[in-house]
Symmetry: C2
Subunit: 127 residues, 2 copies
Amino acid sequence: MTTTTASSCVRVFADTAHIEQCQQRLLAVEPSLAALAAVLSLAGNEVRLKILFLLAQEQQLCVCDLADVLQMNVSAVSQHLRKLKDGGVVQALKVGQTVFYTPTTALRPIVEPLLASVSTPLTTATL
Amino acid sequence: MTTTTASSCVRVFADTAHIEQCQQRLLAVEPSLAALAAVLSLAGNEVRLKILFLLAQEQQLCVCDLADVLQMNVSAVSQHLRKLKDGGVVQALKVGQTVFYTPTTALRPIVEPLLASVSTPLTTATL
DNA sequence: TTCGTATTTAAGCAAACGCTAAAATATAAA
DNA sequence: TTTATATTTTAGCGTTTGCTTAAATACGAA
């Protein structure tokens, strides 16, 4: 007769061993998962994803250009860029009074494959 | 002498043609980008990413098991699963009174490569 | 220095998010 | 049918998000 360490579920056939195995495996990758989630939540915003797409294409763009292309407030764009920079996805290069943003080589392996799937559209077919 | 269609920026050397080119390219992939952003924002939550990780590993888990493994409220887990289901990332299979969730084959090409990068941890080295 | 431009920062606010607690459903067993 | 279990749904609440506006910085040119 299997007992249950379960907090909420009362089922008899709860496989405690299995659950603990899952917990352990989860624990092992927890830091990586947290880091990944952080990057994904950055890219999970449509405006920021557009910015990443544009930077991947153009290699570098200043805040002004991005605001023009996206047709939005410079301040709003700047705030998004700050988040991306804090997240280590882009880096800033100041030339005179204009700041150019470029994708960091570091995160390309994660972000660029995602953007690649965009050129080959995510239609219901590919989904 | 180049003029500026720019809303906010006043610079003389704004390359209007270039900006419009960017806008057009963006417009072309806009739907795909929106769809991708939707998936990424789902995966960008740590709890949901854990759920996706567990489902990818175990193939199927019921709400109860997930709640046990994650050590959180069944209701909270259920609400996350609903979002994942609405986003087409997982699907529900009801057997008796328990509901098993499985990853949808559709989204695996997007989600699973991401999770793969977790087994090979995202250390500062790989970043 | 003063003026103008590019960018960032701060404050405020509405909307979205994620959790808890409680009630509602659905199904199985007694 | 009544009772118990698994899950979902609803309502409420505090937190986070993303935008706007306005002020603050940074830098170049006159």
